[in-house]
C-alpha cells in the first residue's frame, strides 16, 4: 500500500435479524422456502393493508445498541423511503430517517499493537426488499422473476463514522461486528447468504492530514474478504488518480468479485430522491427506561467478558481463550465438553486442533459437526481412563466423524482398546526383537536412538493398541537383560 496517503473509510452494514416473523406482518422469515410462499397481503403491498410493528425487532435493536454503547432514543419514528423497483411492492421501504432508534456508539477493534475505537453514527430499523431473479436458467433474457419471501424481513442498518484507516481494519471491524451479533443472538452473521451486507465509502488524504477528500461508495461485496479487497483496490485507484493529477469523482462503484475491480454504476441509478417522510401508518416507538433495563438484564454474555472468564475459570492461555471465544458456538461447544472433562487445556487442544481443522476441511459450522460435545467428552474420558492411547484416539476421532455411535461402542467393536497386559506385550516384544537382531546389536553397541525405532515397530505390530508406557518399561527391561547376557558370553 502507498504510504504517502491514508484511506478514510466508513461502513454501512445491514444486519438481517433472526426474528421468527417479518417486521410488519406475521409471515415467517425462514430462509430457503420455495419462492413467494412466505407472503401475505401486507408484505405483498396489496391495496388497503397496514403495517403492524414486530416489537421483537425493537428488542434486538436495543441489544445491539447496548453492546455498542449507543444511546437509545426514547421516541423514534419510522419513515418511508420512496422509490420504484419491482421487488419493493409498496413503492416505498419502511425505514428510519430522522429520529433513528440508536445513535452515537462505538466498537473497538484490536490489531496486534493497539486498540482503535470506531464510532457508530446510528443504528436504525428497516424492512428488507424482495429479490429480483435474472437467472437465465429460469427466464428469457428480457424477463425478471420476483421472489418476495425476503420482503419485509427486519434489518438493522448500522452506519459508522469515517474512522477506519485501512482495508484490514474494515475487515477486523466486520469480524468483530459479526461476532457481536452472533453473541447477541440477533443475526446468524452469514454474509454469503446475505444476513450481513456491507457497503463502504472511502476517500484518501495525505498522511497526517486532517481534511477529508471526495469519497466514492462501494457496493456489491459478498464477503468480508471481498470488502477488504474492494477497499484495497479503490484506495490504490484513488492514489493513482491523484498522482496522475486527476480529481476523484463522487460516484457509486460496484465491486466485481470475479474480475477483482470496480465498475461505476449508471448515473441514472444514483440520481434518487427518496422523499423520506414519517410513515403515517405507524405510531412513534416509545421506549421506557424499564424496557431497556429488562433487556440489559437478559443480555447474553459479550465476547470480551467470555474471554476473560475463559482465562480465569478454565485457566486457559489468552491465545486459547481468544480462539475458543471467537465464535459463540465454538465457545458453547468448549463449555459443554469442559463440563465433563476437567483437563481444560486438553479439551482446548482437541478443539483448537482436530475439531477446528475438521470444520475448515469440511467447510462446515460447529453445529453441523458430526461429533457432538457429548461424544467428544466420552472420547476424552477414554483417554483419561487409559482405555485408549492418543494414537488410537486420533483414529477413533476420524472414525467418529462418519459413525454416529458412541466412542466406547466403536472401541469394543473395532477392538481398539489399549493393551496393558504384560504377558501379551512381552510376547509382542520378543517377536519384534527376534526380527530385528541387527538393530538390537546396534543398540547394545551404544546407538541409543534405535530404542525409539523398536518402540515404533512394537506399536505398529500392536496396531497402536499397546500401552506405550508398558511397552517402554518391558522393552528397556528386556534389552538390559540381553546386555547382561552378552557380557556373560564375552566373559565366558
Amino acid at each position: 500500500m502507498n504510504t504517502m496517503y491514508e484511506p478514510v473509510i466508513g461502513l454501512e452494514i445491514h444486519i438481517q435479524l433472526l426474528t421468527n416473523s417479518k417486521l410488519f406482518c406475521h409471515c415467517s422469515t425462514c430462509f430457503g422456502a420455495p419462492q413467494n410462499t412466505q407472503v401475505c397481503p401486507v408484505c405483498l403491498g396489496m391495496p388497503g393493508v397496514l403495517p403492524v410493528l414486530n416489537e421483537r425487532a425493537i428488542e434486538f435493536g436495543i441489544r445491539l445498541a447496548l453492546a455498542t454503547h449507543c444511546s437509545i432514543a426514547e421516541r423514534s419514528i419510522f419513515a418511508r423511503k420512496n422509490y420504484f423497483y419491482p421487488d419493493l411492492p409498496k413503492g416505498y421501504q419502511i425505514s428510519q430517517f430522522e429520529d433513528p432508534l440508536c445513535s452515537n456508539g462505538f466498537i473497538e477493534v484490536n490489531d496486534t499493537e493497539s486498540t482503535h475505537r470506531i464510532r457508530i453514527t446510528r443504528i436504525h430499523i428497516e424492512e428488507d426488499a424482495g429479490k429480483s431473479i435474472h437467472a437465465e436458467e429460469y427466464v428469457d433474457a428480457d424477463q425478471t422473476l420476483i421472489d418476495l419471501n425476503r420482503c419485509g424481513v427486519p434489518l438493522l442498518e448500522l452506519v459508522t463514522e469515517p474512522d477506519i484507516r485501512s482495508p484490514q481494519e474494515a475487515y477486523l471491524f466486520l469480524t468483530k461486528l459479526k461476532q457481536l451479533v452472533q453473541y447477541l443472538d440477533i443475526c446468524d452473521g452469514n454474509m454469503e447468504q446475505g444476513s450481513l451486507r456491507c457497503d463502504a465509502n472511502i476517500s484518501i488524504r495525505p498522511l497526517h492530514s486532517k481534511t477529508l477528500g471526495i469519497k466514492t461508495e462501494l457496493k456489491n461485496m459478498n464477503s468480508f474478504k471481498g470488502v477488504e479487497k474492494a477497499l484495497e483496490f479503490e484506495f490504490n485507484r484513488q492514489v493513482q488518480e491523484i498522482q496522475n493529477g486527476n480529481r476523484i469523482k463522487q460516484v457509486t462503484l460496484m465491486w466485481d468479485d470475479k474480475l477483482n475491480c470496480v465498475v461505476p454504476m449508471r448515473s441514472k441509478e444514483m440520481a434518487h430522491d427518496y422523499r423520506y417522510f414519517p410513515d403515517p401508518d405507524l405510531v412513534p416507538v416509545i421506549i421506557r427506561h424499564s424496557t431497556i433495563d429488562t433487556i440489559q438484564k437478559k443480555l447474553p454474555e459479550l465476547p470480551e467478558d467470555k474471554l476473560k472468564r475463559f482465562m480465569e475459570d478454565y485457566k486457559l492461555p489468552q491465545y486459547d481463550a481468544e480462539v475458543l471465544t471467537e465464535s459463540k458456538e465454538i465457545a458453547d461447544y468448549f463449555e459443554a465438553v469442559a463440563k465433563e472433562i476437567k483437563d481444560y487445556k486438553s479439551v482446548s487442544n482437541w478443539i483448537m486442533g482436530d475439531v477446528l481443522r475438521s470444520l475448515n476441511e469440511g467447510k462446515i459450522t460447529i453445529n453441523e459437526f458430526a461429533i457432538e460435545p457429548g461424544r467428544l467428552s466420552e472420547l476424552l474420558h477414554l483417554i483419561e481412563k487409559k482405555v485408549i492411547n492418543l494414537t488410537i484416539a486420533k483414529t477413533l476421532f476420524t472414525k467418529m466423524m462418519s459413525d454416529k455411535r458412541a466412542p466406547s461402542e466403536l472401541v469394543t467393536q473395532l477392538g481398539l482398546s489399549q493393551v496393558s497386559d504384560t504377558t501379551e506385550i512381552s510376547a509382542l516384544i520378543d517377536k519384534i526383537l527376534g526380527q530385528h537382531q541387527k538393530e538390537v546389536a546396534d543398540y547394545l553397541s551404544g546407538k541409543v536412538k534405535i530404542f525409539g525405532f523398536l518402540v515404533g515397530q512394537i506399536m505398529r505390530e500392536s496396531k497402536g493398541r499397546a500401552n506405550p508406557q508398558v511397552v517402554n518399561e518391558i522393552l528397556k527391561d528386556k534389552l538390559e537383560k540381553q546386555r547382561e547376557s552378552n557380557w556373560g558370553c564375552i566373559k565366558s
Binding site: P47, G48, R275, P280
Partner: protein
C-alpha cells in the same frame, strides 16, 4: 311488499316481528337498483352474494334471533376491500383487482349479519368533491340528475338517498362522507381519527382517512358506528379507547350543552340561502334552551392549503404501489422497466389523481420538504390547537357542511381550486382528527338539500349523535320564511 321507510330501525322491527324476511328485503332493493340504474351509483353489484347471505341470515334469525345489524342492507364504497370481490377505487389501474382479504369493517359488519349489496361508485381513489373523476363515469344526484352528488363518496350517498340501500359506508379524507351526505340530503358521519380501523381501506391520505356510515337517519348511523368502531390489531393507528353504546346515548340528557359558532365559517364564501338556513337552526336551538357562543378558529384560512400539501404528499407515496408489477393494470406496450411504470400509470390514472401525485411528489422533494411538508405539519398542529382551545369554551361546534348546495355536473371540473374550496368547512376536522357529522336541515329554492355540520371533541361521537338526533326529531325544516 312495501317498505314503510328506508331506515334500518323500522325494518328491524318488522324482522323481529317476523313480518318480513331478509330475502324479501334484498329482493326489494335489487328491484329498486334495477329501476334506477341511470344514477350510476354502483360499480359492482353483489346480487347473488347478497341473496345467499340473506337466506343464511333468515335461517340464523329463526335459530338465534337478531344480531345487532341483522338484515341491514348496506352498500360499500369501492375503496373498501371485500374478499373475493372486485375493489377498483373507481380507477382503471385497479379495474381488474379482486381483493384477497376483507377489510376489518367488512368483517365486523358481516359478523353482525349485515348484508352487503353492492360496491359504490366514487371519485377515483377518493380524490374529488363531485364524483366526476371516476373511471366508471359520473354519478347523478337523485334530487336533480343534472347535478353532482358530491364526493368522493358520491355513489354511497346516492345509494342511500335514492333508497337503493338502507345505508352505506364511505370514507372521509377531507369531507368525502359529509359533503355528499349534505348534497344528497342524508346523514353522514366522519368518526374521530382512530375510532374505526382503516385496515382494508385503500389509502388516499393515511393520516386523514376515516371510514364512516351514510344513513337516512341518525339512529341508523349510531347503530352502524357502534359495530364498526373499536380497536384493531391490524391497524396501529386505531385507538383502544372503549366503544360506548351510541344508540343508548341518543336518549341522554343534553342539559348544559354549549354550542360554538366559529365566526370564520360564516364568511363571504357561504351561499346566502345556506346561511339563512343555518341561522334558523341556531335560533331553534337557542329557543330549545341550548347555550350558543361565538368562537374563533383563527387558522381556518390555512386549512385548504395545508390539507392539499399533507394529503397529496401521503397520496403520492400511497399510490406508488400501483406500478403494474403485481396486480392491476399493466400497459401492453412496454420495452423496459421504466416504460412499464410510466405507461401503466400514465394510461390508468385519471387527471386529478395525476395532479395530486405530482403535487405530493413535489412537496416531499429534497429542497422543498422543509418549505412545504414540514411547514404544513406545523400549521396542522396550529389548526388542532385551535379546536382544543375552542372546546374549552363549548362542547360542540356547529357550521354549514358545504358553502354551496349541489352544483351542476361539469361546473367545476375545469377549475380545481374552485373544486377544492368545496371542502372548506369539512377539511379542518380531518386535519384535527376530530369527529364531525352532517345532517340534512332543509332545502334551498332549487329544492336541493342543505347540510348542517356538527364537530366535536375527539372520541366524543356520542355528543354529535345526540345533538344531531335532537335536531332531526325536533327541528321543523319547513318552518322558514323565504
Amino acid at each position: 311488499m312495501k317498505l314503510i321507510e328506508n331506515s334500518y330501525g323500522s325494518v328491524r322491527n318488522l324482522l323481529a316481528e317476523r313480518r318480513i324476511n331478509c330475502v324479501k328485503i334484498v329482493d326489494h332493493y335489487l328491484r329498486e337498483i334495477n329501476k334506477q340504474n341511470t344514477l350510476n351509483s354502483f360499480i359492482t353489484l353483489l346480487n347473488d352474494r347478497a341473496l345467499k347471505r340473506a337466506e343464511l341470515i333468515d335461517h340464523q334469525i329463526r335459530e338465534r334471533g337478531l344480531k345487532k345489524l341483522s338484515g341491514l342492507v348496506i352498500a360499500i364504497k369501492d375503496n373498501i376491500c371485500v374478499k373475493d370481490v372486485r375493489t377498483t377505487c373507481a380507477s382503471r389501474i385497479l379495474s381488474n383487482f379482486i381483493s384477497p382479504y376483507d377489510a376489518t369493517v367488512i368483517h365486523k359488519l358481516e359478523s353482525e349479519d349485515a348484508i352487503i349489496i353492492a360496491k359504490t361508485n366514487m371519485d377515483e381513489f377518493a380524490m374529488g368533491s363531485s364524483n366526476e373523476t371516476s373511471h366508471f363515469g359520473t354519478v347523478k344526484n337523485p334530487h336533480d340528475t343534472t347535478r353532482v352528488p358530491g364526493g368522493s363518496s358520491g355513489g354511497s350517498a346516492v345509494s342511500v338517498a335514492a333508497n337503493l340501500s338502507m345505508a352505506a359506508l364511505g370514507s372521509d379524507t377531507g369531507g368525502s362522507i359529509r359533503q355528499p351526505a349534505s348534497f344528497c340530503g342524508i346523514v353522514g358521519l366522519k368518526p374521530t381519527y382512530g375510532r374505526v380501523s382503516r385496515f382494508g381501506l385503500v389509502a388516499f391520505a393515511s393520516s386523514l382517512d376515516q371510514i364512516g356510515p351514510l344513513t337516512t337517519n341518525v339512529e341508523d348511523c349510531a347503530r352502524i358506528l357502534e359495530v364498526i368502531a373499536g380497536q384493531d390489531t391490524n391497524d396501529s393507528t386505531c385507538s383502544d379507547s372503549p366503544v360506548p353504546s351510541y344508540v343508548e346515548a341518543l336518549q341522554d340528557n343534553m342539559q348544559g350543552l354549549t354550542i360554538g359558532l366559529p365566526i370564520e365559517y360564516f364568511s363571504e364564501h357561504l351561499e346566502t340561502e345556506i346561511k339563512t338556513r343555518i341561522d334558523h337552526v341556531i335560533d331553534f336551538l337557542k329557543a330549545s334552551g341550548f347555550s350558543v357562543v361565538p368562537i374563533s378558529l383563527p387558522h381556518t384560512e390555512y386549512a385548504i392549503a395545508d390539507y392539499y400539501i399533507i394529503a397529496t404528499a401521503e397520496a403520492s407515496s400511497n399510490l406508488e404501489r400501483y406500478d403494474g408489477a403485481r396486480y392491476g393494470y399493466r400497459s401492453e406496450s412496454v420495452q423496459s422497466l421504466d416504460e412499464m411504470y410510466v405507461n401503466s400509470r400514465r394510461q390508468a390514472f385519471g387527471d386529478e389523481v395525476k395532479r395530486r401525485i405530482m403535487l405530493g411528489t413535489y412537496v416531499l422533494s429534497s429542497g422543498y420538504y422543509d418549505a412545504y411538508y414540514r411547514k404544513a405539519q406545523k400549521v396542522r398542529a396550529l389548526i388542532k390547537s385551535d379546536f382544543q382551545n375552542a372546546f374549552d369554551r363549548c362542547d360542540c361546534i356547529l357550521t354549514p357542511t358545504s358553502p354551496t348546495t349541489a352544483f351542476k355536473i361539469g361546473d367545476k371540473m375545469s377549475d380545481p381550486l374552485d373544486m377544492y374550496l368545496s371542502d372548506i368547512y369539512t377539511v379542518p376536522a380531518n386535519l384535527a382528527g376530530i369527529p364531525a357529522i352532517s345532517i340534512p336541515v332543509g332545502k334551498d329554492m332549487n329544492d336541493l338539500p342543505i347540510g348542517l355540520q356538527i364537530m366535536g371533541r375527539s372520541f366524543d361521537e356520542s355528543t354529535l349523535l345526540k345533538l344531531a338526533f335532537f335536531i332531526e326529531r325536533n327541528y321543523s325544516t319547513r318552518d322558514i320564511a323565504r
